[in-house]
């Protein structure tokens, strides 16, 4: 008998490891709208299978919980069952020996609290509140509800202009979204069950690049009704576009020199070239929208004046007010806010940072935009300073990777303390306090806690504060529009309480969010403004979607187009991301599982052809 043996992995174990990967993918691609009780019961079964069998609460208790939850689902339970589930789970949580038991019980407890109504509906009425009424994951998760399987199929057939027409039915910014959309549509793509989500944004970009100029549909008969849109960003222009198509007379007021809102004044041109943004704006304006630039509502015109002149008003002023850190030295020369810096770049007034050391404070997309722009403006050293970990940054991981490739530095676990100034009030450095990751907070990220280490000085000439934006809602609040914590208060229909005919949406309601959420809000407002004006115009695309062909869905790699080489792209503001090739687009669009047709999607006809 040998004293020791080398550990080897059995074939069964290797297969199980593979199954774990499958389960991970399956959870990522879980469709929205599932019964939470059923899901919790299923997870519990997995947890129970992980039990070693030593301790009572875990070995026996989890099994009994499973049975009780099945009773709830079968309609054979009553309210005392829910109490017993809660009681048992609490005891398991308090008495299980290891995390396999107490974490499983915690999960059940969270559910009993978090979706108690679902439990009660099951036991009282033997029914479920949940229903998969949004069966196509990508479309369901797109705030504008774009018919994604439809346009992916059109791309696969080479019908690029039809793809653009179909996208415009729900989103008049196909070019913009092809380049900068955060693509929530990809999050639960069913293709993830097989290999990885479809590169939906990349395909949209490919369609727009190949479609050429696509004329907008004809506007409906003029209705004679007038609508004012305050703010020419993605929300305001989307609303204006659809209202104009519906035959209403629309005027867009914007405080800036150019239209586009944060698409121009927040997103640098290396991600969204100005001429590409202009393509969408030109198409939107070609419906006959009037534009009043350099006009600030509340200053140049009052809200009451608009109310008198127009039949309806849509407020979409965005969130363009910078937030301050309130650090000592923040008023020094060389300290910029992100809004100010990106605003200047948007107007074409690009500062020269040649040879400067630049520090950016923040961890969001705006911080990354400032970081990578600073590099392009000639800075010799660019450091993004963040008080948490890299994985806690709210920006997209690709942005961090891109910035690092371009030679920027990411300095994490460093909380800014003060900005050092010289006698002339010029910035000389940023002082930070090192942090360690502490207990997990409500956002699920470890709270930064002061480390037992001395402060660190980062010598620099310029500090850019990119810690988020607020809504400049003062004038509106004074005019009587309800404002809660700085944001305009509106319903999910765009309506504002006690203000007939005034609607609001986009960042000014939600706080800083994504372009596609603002576009969705604009679409919703357009429909409800039309209804408010006494109409029921319908928006359609008139595009026929190719019939899907069923095939064996073997696993493939996801196509991810390249970036221009880091050393080259970091020196200019030209677009960094390359477009898919024809070959890539054909393969990628062919990977789409057509959830509009296969699965639950077909039950409701696969799509909303009109809204």
């Amino acid at each position: 008998m040998s004293r020791l043996t080398i550990k080897t992995v059995s074939q069964a174990q290797t297969t199980v490891e593979g199954l774990y990967k499958d389960v991970e993918r399956r959870i990522i691609a879980s469709p929205p709208g599932l019964c939470p009780v059923d899901l919790a019961a299923s997870f519990l079964k997995l947890c129970h299978a992980q039990t070693c069998g030593k301790c009572v609460p875990c070995r026996v208790g989890l099994g009994q919980l499973e049975q009780l939850m099945d009773d709830v689902l079968d309609g054979s339970a009553d309210e005392s069952t829910v109490d017993l589930i809660e009681q048992t789970a609490r005891v398991i949580k308090n008495t299980a020996d290891c995390a396999i038991g107490f974490e499983a019980a915690s999960m059940v407890l969270k559910g009993v609290e978090g979706f108690r109504d679902d439990y009660l509906e099951h036991v009282r009425h033997n029914r479920c509140i949940a229903s998969m009424n949004q069966p196509i994951p990508c479309t369901a998760l797109c705030p504008a509800g774009v018919d994604i399987p439809g346009y992916v199929a059109l791309i696969h057939e080479g019908r690029y202009s039809d793809a653009v027409r179909l996208i415009r039915k729900d989103n008049p910014f196909p070019v913009v979204c092809g380049m900068i959309c955060e693509h929530p549509c990809e999050n639960r793509c069913r293709r993830g069950l097989i290999d990885a989500s479809i590169n939906i944004r990349g395909l949209k970009r490919y369609a727009c690049d190949n479609a050429g100029r696509v004329p907008v549909p004809e506007c409906a008969e003029p209705t004679g009704r007038k609508v004012a849109v305050i703010g020419g960003g993605p929300g305001g222009l989307s609303c204006a576009y659809y209202l104009s198509l519906m035959g209403h007379s629309v005027t867009v007021y914007d405080a800036h020199k150019y239209l586009g809102g944060m698409l121009r004044y927040g997103i640098p041109s290396y991600r969204l070239p100005r001429e590409e943004l202009q393509r969408d704006i030109d198409a939107i304006l070609s419906t006959g929208i009037r534009v009043e630039k350099n006009t600030t509502i509340g200053k140049d015109l009052t809200i009451d004046q608009l109310g008198e002149e127009f039949d309806a008003v849509f407020i979409a002023i965005g969130a363009q007010q910078d937030k301050k850190l309130n650090l000592p030295g923040e008023n020094g020369r060389g300290v910029f806010s992100a809004v100010e810096l990106l605003g200047r770049i948007g107007d074409g007034d690009i500062p020269d940072f040649t040879g400067k050391n630049v520090c950016i404070i923040g961890g969001g997309n705006t911080a990354m935009d400032c970081t990578r722009s600073s590099k392009r403006m000639g800075a010799s050293r660019v450091t993004c300073v963040y008080r948490r970990r890299t994985e806690d940054m709210t920006t997209l991981p690709d942005e961090i990777e891109g910035a690092v490739e371009e030679g920027c530095e990411i300095m994490t676990m460093s909380a800014p303390v003060r900005i050092e100034l010289d006698d002339g009030d010029n910035v000389t450095g940023l002082v930070v306090q090192p942090q360690i990751p502490g207990a997990i907070d409500k956002s699920g990220r470890p709270r930064p806690v002061k480390a037992d280490l001395p402060e660190v000085i980062i010598p620099c000439d310029i500090v850019i504060v990119a810690i988020g934006q607020g809504v400049d809602s003062k004038e509106f609040e004074e005019a009587g529009i309800p404002v809660v914590r700085g944001s305009i208060s509106a319903f999910d229909t765009g309506n504002i309480a006690d203000h007939e005919g005034i609607f609001a949406g986009g960042d000014c309601v939600s706080g800083p969010a994504t372009a596609i959420r603002a576009i969705g809000a604009g679409k919703v407002a357009a429909a409800n403004i039309d209804q408010y004006l006494g109409f029921n115009h319908e928006i359609t695309s008139g595009v026929e979607i190719p019939h899907p062909v069923m095939h064996d869905c073997g696993a493939y790699g996801r196509i991810q187009p390249d970036m221009r080489p880091a050393g080259e792209r970091s020196r200019d503001f030209e677009q960094i991301e390359l477009c898919m090739t024809d070959e890539e687009a054909c393969q990628e669009s062919g990977r789409c599982l057509r959830c509009d047709h296969f699965g639950c999607g077909v039950l409701k006809g696969g799509r909303e052809e009109r809204w």
Partner: protein, 583 residues
């Protein structure tokens, strides 16, 4: 054209043809269960799976289109195995107590399992769900028989635009239920019954009221009266495999008499009375345009009344106040027997044989009690319930002799006969309205352009220079389209006929069921034939109607007519469309 082979037979067909249709064209009938052409092409049951050479997974034939060079096998070992296992899985969730099921012998699942030669024990554990249902509702859903084919969901949403049914919950617990957590009686269901006639099993059916009728028939103190709706005679024989000449009106009357009914009256005469009232009301409205919104809507279809009350309550005043023909008939019969024969109306038990479920709800409305305070109609039976009574009383209609409907409510004009088909009410009303205005009869076939199975028809009728704009709509999705267009000012009409069921009562939710095909058009044609062959084709020339008006009512819209033949549509509550509740 696309060329392929199916079961080694070369087939050529148009691009975009489904594999199922391509096979059918080659004489190969691929088994299917959930499929309903144009309505439910969702490939849920997987009975139609076929094997395509070179493709690893099996493919449903109903919703996949042919490709050039395809080599399709509809009965390969893999296909047979898949079809059998999937059928057994469906059966494991189906209460297969066929011996006491109303659809036994007319059930797609039963036929399929027999055809697939599935006889031995099912290897899967039965997993039959039980869910509570209000058995007093006119419409019954039995979850234990539901195979979740989703036909009801799609019929209700696509054909009727009512969205009463949906798949509720998720995972293995997903099941069909009334949407938005409502019960059927809380919902704005019109009880059109289109879900029932399209159900692939016995999961959906009408409330069975035959026992009430048997009790009345057995009660010697009751005079039990049947009345038979127009569409009934065009379809009742289908359940017995009879053609139209075998399933005559006369045999139907004899069969009902054999069940024990004391009188068998013809609702067609009620239809003639409806025309007298509705035409008079229409002319009154036309002559007082300031008092009435246009158009006037017909009121003979209770499914439509439930629709307008729940979807567009503000338009209820535009409904004619005329009752539906069977309610007119019932109130008149009871009042007439009381006034003319001295018979206690409480002792009269009125049974309406209808192609309809909504009339079960209508007869129970609190204000349909004008003759004596009892419900004017005591029980409404669908055609299927009547036929089940014939079977259970071992009546073989084909062997029966012919009898006439009973006097004095047994004679109808051709105009009354066509009430059972879309456009029929309009055509009948126009024949009489024309006469009322001009004093002359038009050619009875002058208004033919309101005939046909189109869901939305229009006709402009010239009555001595006055142009009457009419529309005829059937099916509630079509109805909603028409009303939305009216409300947006895109169309204008003077008079609109609405029937909730596609094709009118001939396609009614209480008619015999034929899975996968529709008899609506055939039944409608039969009604037009009966009209054509009638000696009298105008409601106002019906001698029984003339007699009744001269001796009893006086004239249309008289006080007595208003009392017995008209109703207050606001006299009862209807659950609103949930979207209206939100506002």
């Amino acid at each position: 054209m696309v060329n392929l082979t199916i079961d080694n037979t070369p087939v050529s067909c148009m691009e975009g043809t489904t594999i199922m249709d391509a096979a059918a064209a080659a004489g190969i009938s691929i088994p299917h269960l959930c499929f309903l052409r144009g309505i439910n092409e969702i490939a849920a049951c997987r009975m139609c799976t076929v094997e395509i050479e070179g493709t690893e997974r099996l493919v449903p034939a109903c919703d996949n289109v042919v490709q050039e060079g395809m080599d399709v096998h509809t009965n390969s070992p893999r296909v047979r195995e898949a079809r059998r296992i999937n059928a057994e899985l469906i059966m494991s969730q189906h209460n297969g107590n066929c011996i006491s099921c109303v659809r036994s012998g007319n059930c797609s699942l039963q036929t399929l399992c027999n055809d697939l030669n599935i006889h031995d024990g099912n290897p899967f554990t039965p997993d039959i769900s039980a869910r509570r249902w209000n058995m007093k509702a006119p419409l019954i859903h039995d979850a234990s028989k539901c195979i979740k084919c989703m036909r009801c969901v799609n019929v209700c949403s696509k054909i009727q635009d009512m969205h009463i049914w949906d798949l509720e919950g998720s995972g293995g617990h997903a099941h069909i239920n009334v949407t938005l957590g409502r019960t059927i009686t809380d919902a704005d269901c019109t009880y059109c019954g289109q879900c029932i006639i399209n159900c692939s099993t016995g999961a959906l059916r009408e409330r069975d009221d035959t026992e009430d009728v048997y009790s009345a028939l057995a009660d010697p103190s009751k005079i039990v009266v049947a009345q038979v709706a127009p569409a009934v005679r065009a379809g009742w024989g289908e359940d017995f495999g009879l053609n139209n000449s075998e399933a005559s009106e006369g045999r139907l009357v004899t069969a009902l008499k054999k069940l024990g009914f004391d009188y068998v009256f013809d609702t067609n005469m009620g239809a003639d009375m409806t025309i007298m009232e509705e035409a008079a009301e229409f002319l009154q409205r036309m002559q007082n345009p300031d008092h009435y919104e246009k158009p006037m809507f017909t009121s003979c279809c209770p499914g439509w009344i439930r629709f307008i009350k729940s979807q567009y309550p503000d338009m209820v005043p535009q409904l004619s106040t005329a009752k539906s023909p069977h309610q007119m008939m019932a109130a008149t019969v009871k009042a007439w027997f009381r006034d003319e024969k001295g018979i206690d109306p409480h002792s009269i038990y009125m049974v309406s044989i209808m192609p309809c479920l909504a009339k079960k709800a209508e007869s129970a409305e609190p204000n349909q009690n004008d003759a004596c305070g009892d419900p004017d109609v005591n029980t409404v039976l669908t055609v299927r319930e009547m036929n089940r009574m014939f079977r259970s009383d071992h009546i073989r209609p084909v062997l029966l002799s012919e009898s006439e409907f009973d006097d004095p409510f047994g004679f109808a004009s051709g105009a009354g006969k066509i009430f059972g088909v879309t456009g029929g009410v309009m055509e009948a009303a126009l024949r009489t309205a024309y006469h009322s205005v001009t004093g002359k009869n038009p050619d009875p076939d002058a208004f033919q352009n309101v005939r046909g199975m189109d869901g939305w028809k229009e006709a402009v009728i010239d009555i001595s220079g006055a142009k009457i704009k009419t529309a005829v709509v059937s099916g509630l999705a079509n109805t909603r389209r028409l009303i939305e267009a009216l409300r947006l000012g895109r169309v204008r009409y003077d008079f609109v006929e609405v029937m909730a069921c596609p094709g009118g009562c001939s396609g009614g939710g209480g008619m015999p069921i034929h899975d996968g095909w529709s008899m609506t058009d055939t039944r409608g044609s039969q009604l037009y034939k009966l009209d054509k062959n009638s000696d009298i084709r105008f409601s106002h020339e019906n001698p029984a109607v003339i007699k009744l008006y001269s001796e009893y009512f006086g004239a249309p819209l008289s006080e007595k007519a208003e009392e017995l033949l008209h109703t207050d549509h606001d006299g009862w509550e209807m659950p609103l469309n949930p979207r209206l509740c939100e506002r």
